[in-house]
Amino acid sequence: MLGSWPSLDPHNFSQFKPNDPSNPSKMTPVTYNPTHDRTLSPPDQVIVPEAKNILLRHFYQQAEEKMSAKRAFSDNPMPERASKLPRASASDNV
């Protein structure tokens, strides 16, 4: 189970000379101080907090569903039939 460690580029670390571990690494990267304007993302990629609270969204969604149900009722004069149909299909699945 040990061994055959993955290698993406066999060169990586091939010339690495280990430091004396009592001497810690002194390599320090350059500090980045951006002065360009692309630190701001394109305006369409700025995500803002959701305007609607999740609860309100839920209420609206329910209201919407009710409305569409009513609309469906007025559009379809045979509501009882409609509500019975799914049950029949559900029993088919059993």
Partner: protein, 1089 residues
């Protein structure tokens, strides 16, 4: 100190919180990206190892960090979310070498309870959405469209309230999360949900798993072809998928970090709380999981992140010890370990306590920290500036110059040290016994002052005196040729290299000679309009033996000029401005850039970038090094060239990342320096100071030096005692071998030079050290260590019993001479009016030191003050006591001598949970609290009413972004009373992330100036990821967010020096202050740390 404060980082955070590996900077390049709380480091994997590329400051505390690759992209993007609910998606632009922002935003909710177990941010492996769990009961989704663009975010209700971990599953047709959670009976379960992006809701997922290990805390999603998830518990590891369930028992341990080894997810590295590294293997046949195996590989630092890099090399990021680069070997070593540590990266975090001491007694503060935790605990000695390790020294008064010479041109070592005095020249050399003794070079003129000496070609030496230039054989030491100054003129200044001599006489005569084999040839002579004050012909071109350019400093018109050689044509003239003449010029080259350095008589140094092809000078910069004339010399150390600036404030000038840096040398005053590299003292310097000649080696050239003293246990309090030259620490050791993970607490005494344990006092079972103090009492000349303890019983919410222990150091041993039982934990001890002031749970208690009949002493309680939740941090000044409370901010007490009572004088009525307090001056107190803010409060003595006087007014607020554990008055740099920054009082702080910072109280005028500079810097230096500096520094807690006031961000202000010239000029224009002046003022501030 004052209310106008400047906060700056002396040592950046080193605590590694996250790490990941991917192709960030190019499709072909493999990068390791490390998060250190408020900074990101980008490294490149190369044949030579890890190459640091960039250190990116983030205006936020990084909560999550992930690399991901949207469809159609050839390289990875970096997703970062901060603790203050901002996120950004960063991309590397290879063309410009810039980090650009692809997307950013705010993911906060107005209503919501922040999660207890930290924030979770994950990216779907098929890049359909980003998922965030920031508030209990809510899962926030930021969907991607099919072009990889982010769309409007929304919340989904998550039924599980106590979430431990959430991950995306691989290989699911619909984005699917797996949730590890705890129910209200403390049982742990796992379930899956599909995210329905259209309905913005969850759909019950493909499978779930109930009643897992009680310590299950971590999920590892397994990539295709196996898919499914690993659930890491404390006693078992489970593999679970829709079709399979496998479990193995493990030795009890808490897994802190994991790293995937193979792309197919068959092997994982697991790091536990003891720093043990295990390999977890999923065995499988025909893409079906057949079982799990686990193998111990060895020990590392306690890992907070593990990233497999390439070719068996692994990065182990640590919060509790040094981070490491390790190699996984195929064969175990003698100790049975497969782990080989290749490299170590210093981490000071968590700094739990520290003290500032002046061990060398030269006015230079050392910070000694209690760093690390558990087995990785250590003391770290942090020192600013470069030390000289003295090898030999002789008393010599009146040195006027020094040069080292070799006995043959190709000799690797120096033989002679020429020391010049006002009317004689002495030659020192190493004898066979490696002792420095006086010798002679017959060809040299020794009864006059030497102006300059150098090795010359053809095994020769050259000496310049006020009347002649002498060329001497290095082997026979006899004079071979001599050049005489024109009659009536004496040589004032001279310089030389291996083949050239340049000298100046009175009347502005500049004469150029060339050195041949036994010949000195006058090649060119020119007369300038004024006298010459200094010269240099250090070769910086391709030819190491010969310079094409000469630098000349002038009296009268105060200019520096560049001449071409050998024809002595003037090619550049730069007026220095002002009235101070240049005293030393030097041509030098660092990291491939050529510079002209020009030191003035008043301790200022100008530097210019020099174009060697045409002698043009550009990018003029001026810094103040000291107050006395400076002499510049180059020297080499570890194969790099540096410049030593000898003056009343000796400094080493070096270059890092193509920027000139100045580091103090820890010596008081140096008049001359020359490199002196002998077989006995390789790589040494000869230094003339205060009537003494010293030979010594120089430290590594860097600003902060950190020495590590590993303890193998966790030091929590430290205190220094000058009189006995010892440190006392309170520490605890975890006993890993015992079945019940017991811990032992100690008071230990350490020698302040060797840092060896010289004495130990074990505390009782359940007793732990909470505070330590060195002090003496009224009517008793002894110095004592006082230790405050608490008995921490598992069944108690707060300790109800503790002790105050009084030790004396005798014969290097801790002797307990008195003890006093207390009714709670002794969180703090202070010397107070010759008595002992203790903070014990909710009470402040004053003890007097009373003699007994037998001559011994005992602690007797005198008075106390109730009224705190827990009085954790106490500072005193005169009769005033400042208390930092667990949750009731800062209060001010006063001790009334006549009444023998302690009363409350004023308090801050805000509900700040304190982590440290300090007294800045009589009226201003500084606090740090657990939302990573700093604030100052002011005593209002002039208030009209009792109510007003009883209220500490909040005068300063600032978001540091760091958890401060301790403030201490003191300074990391040597304070010179006559320098500007020498007058600025400072407080040092240490944090959980290993930051050492400095808070400096500025005069109001300077504060106003720098505030304006900060405002202008904000417009020029943009926050990475679109994060705003102004928002980042605003004081922020659950109740309020207000703009920072009375604190300035020194890190932003000092980055002025890193800007290019155009940007500096932009700011200079906006400020209406010259660039030179701005640079000088900012450079001075960098000398505070």
């Amino acid at each position: 100190m004052s209310v106008w404060n400047y906060v700056v980082t002396a040592h950046k955070p080193t605590n590694v919180t996250h790490s990941c590996v991917g192709n960030f900077t190019s499709p072909q390049e493999l990068n390791l990206i490390i998060a250190k709380c408020t900074r990101i480091e980008i490294h490149l994997l190369s044949p030579q190892g890890l190459q640091p590329m960039l250190d990116v400051p983030i205006y936020g505390r990084i909560a999550t960090l992930e690399l991901f690759r949207p469809h159609g992209e050839t390289q990875d993007l970096l997703f970062i979310a901060t603790e203050r609910y901002k996120f950004c998606v960063l991309q590397w632009d290879a063309e410009t070498g810039e980090v650009i922002t692809r997307a950013m935003g705010d993911v906060s909710d107005r209503i919501g309870r922040p999660t207890d177990n930290g924030q979770i941010g994950i990216v779907d492996p098929d890049c359909r959405l980003i998922g965030l769990h920031l508030y209990d009961g809510l899962f926030k989704v930021i969907p991607f469209d099919n072009k990889g663009q982010l769309k409007e975010a929304f919340n989904i209700r998550l039924e599980e309230l106590q979430v431990l971990d959430i991950k995306f599953l691989y290989g699911c047709p619909k984005p699917t999360i797996v949730v590890l959670y705890q129910d209200n009976k403390d049982a742990r379960h796992m379930k899956t949900y599909e995210v329905n992006l259209k309905d913005k809701d969850f759909v019950e997922g493909p499978w779930s798993q109930n009643n897992l290990d009680n310590g299950a805390d971590l999920l590892i999603p397994v990539p295709p072809p196996l898919c499914g998830v690993l659930i890491i518990g404390e006693e078992t590891i489970v593999y679970s998928s829709a079709s399979s369930f496998k479990a193995i028992p493990i030795r009890p341990s808490i897994t802190r970090a994991y790293g995937r080894v193979d792309a197919d997810g068959s092997r994982y590295l697991l790091g536990d709380h003891n720093g043990l590294l295990h390999l977890l293997v999923i065995t499988h046949e025909k893409e079906k999981v057949s079982g799990l195996k686990i193998e111990l590989l060895g020990e590392t630092s306690i890992a907070s992140s593990i990233s497999y890099l390439d070719n068996a090399v692994v990065f182990v990021g640590s919060s509790y010890g040094d981070s490491q680069l390790i190699k996984l070997n195929l064969q175990p070593d003698a100790k049975g370990s497969y782990v080989e540590v290749l490299e170590r990266y210093v981490n000071l975090g968590p700094i739990v306590d520290f003290c500032v001491v002046d061990l060398e007694r030269q006015g230079q503060g050392l910070v000694v920290t209690c760093s690390g935790a558990y087995k990785d605990g250590s003391l770290r000695i942090v020192r600013n500036g470069i030390g000289i390790n003295e090898q030999a020294s002789v008393e010599l008064q009146g040195i006027k110059g020094m040069w080292s010479l070799r006995s043959a041109t190709d000799d690797p070592y120096d033989t002679f040290l020429v020391v010049s005095f006002i009317n004689e020249t002495r030659i020192l050399a190493m004898n066979i016994e490696d002792e420095l003794e006086e010798t002679e070079i017959e060809g040299f003129c020794s009864n006059v002052q030497t102006l300059f000496c150098h090795d010359a070609a053809y095994d020769q030496l050259v000496q310049v005196t006020s009347s002649t230039v002498r060329l001497v054989s290095a082997t026979s030491r006899e004079l071979r040729n001599e050049w005489f100054a024109p009659e009536g003129y004496s040589i004032n200044v001279a310089t030389a290299n291996v083949t050239q001599v340049l000298l100046a006489t009175g009347g502005g005569h500049l004469i150029y000679l060339e050195i041949g084999d036994g010949v000195l040839r006058e090649v060119k002579h020119t007369q300038l309009e004024y006298d010459i004050s200094c010269l240099d012909i250090n070769p910086i071109g391709d030819n190491k033996n010969c310079s094409q350019l000469a630098a000349v400093g002038m009296w009268t018109d105060i200019s520096v000029r560049i001449f071409s050689l050998p024809d002595l044509n003037l090619i550049t003239k730069e007026h220095l401005g002002g009235e101070i003449i240049p005293r030393s010029v030097l041509l030098c080259s660092f990291e491939g850039i050529s510079y002209l350095l020009c030191a003035l008589g008043d301790g200022h140094l100008l530097n210019f970038v020099l174009t060697t092809s045409n002698g043009a000078l550009s990018d003029r910069k001026k810094v103040s090094l000291g107050t006395q004339p400076i002499t510049l010399r180059t020297f080499s150390s570890k194969n790099a060239t540096h410049v030593f600036a000898a003056s009343d404030r000796p400094t080493v000038i070096y270059s890092s990342n193509k920027k000139l840096l100045y580091s103090n040398v820890n010596l008081k005053e140096v008049s001359y320096m020359c490199p002196f590299n002998t077989a006995a003292f390789p790589d040494s310097l000869a230094i003339a100071k205060e009537g003494e000649l010293t030979i010594g080696t120089i430290d590594d050239i860097q600003k902060l030096h950190i020495r590590s003293i590993p303890l193998g246990e966790h030091a929590r309090r430290i205190c220094h005692q000058e009189q006995t030259r010892t440190f006392a620490i309170c520490s605890l050791k975890y006993n890993l071998s015992a079945a019940d993970d017991s811990e032992m607490h100690f008071v230990r005494l350490l020698d302040d030079q060797t840092f060896d344990f010289i004495s130990t006092y074990p505390l009782d079972q359940f007793e732990c050290g909470c505070s330590v103090l060195s002090c003496s009492f009224s009517d008793d000349n002894n110095v004592y260590y006082c230790v405050g303890t608490a008995y921490v019983m598992p069944e108690e919410n707060e300790p109800t019993k503790g002790r105050v222990l009084i030790f004396i150091v005798e014969d290097g041993k801790l002797q307990l001479i008195a003890e006093k039982e207390t009714k709670g934990a002794v969180y703090s001890l202070n010397a107070f009016n010759g008595k002992l002031l203790a903070a014990i749970n909710q009470k402040i208690q004053l003890y007097k030191w009373m003699p007994r009949d037998d001559g011994s002493h005992e602690l007797q309680s005198e008075c106390g003050h109730h009224g705190h939740i827990l009085a954790l941090y106490v500072q005193t000044r005169g009769d005033f006591v400042v208390v930092g409370d667990l949750m009731k901010s800062i209060s001010l007490l006063i001790y009334k001598h006549e009444e023998g009572a302690i009363e409350e004088r004023a308090r801050d009525y805000n509900a700040n949970w304190m982590s440290a307090v300090e007294i800045l001056d009589d009226d201003i107190y500084l606090g740090a609290e657990n939302n990573f803010n700093l604030f100052t409060v002011r005593k209002n003595s002039e208030g009209a009413t009792d109510e007003e006087r009883g209220r500490l007014e909040v005068v300063g607020e600032y978001h540091l972004g760091e958890f401060v554990n301790r403030f201490r008055h003191g300074s990391l740099v040597m304070r010179l009373p006559d320098s500007d920054v020498g007058q600025i009082p400072t407080v040092i702080f240490g944090t959980v992330n290993g930051v050492i910072g400095v808070i400096a109280s500025l005069p109001h005028e300077q504060y106003v100036f720098l505030e304006k500079l900060q405002m202008n810097m904000r417009k020029v230096i943009k926050g990475v990821g679109g994060l705003s500096h102004e928002q980042w520094r605003s004081f922020y807690n659950e109740k309020k967010t207000v703009e920072a006031k009375s604190f300035l961000d020194g890190d932003l202000i000092e980055s002025f020096l890193d800007l290019n010239r155009n940007r500096m000029e932009e700011i200079s224009k906006a400020m209406n202050v010259a660039v030179d002046e701005l640079m000088k003022r900012v450079e001075e501030l960098t000398r505070l740390h």
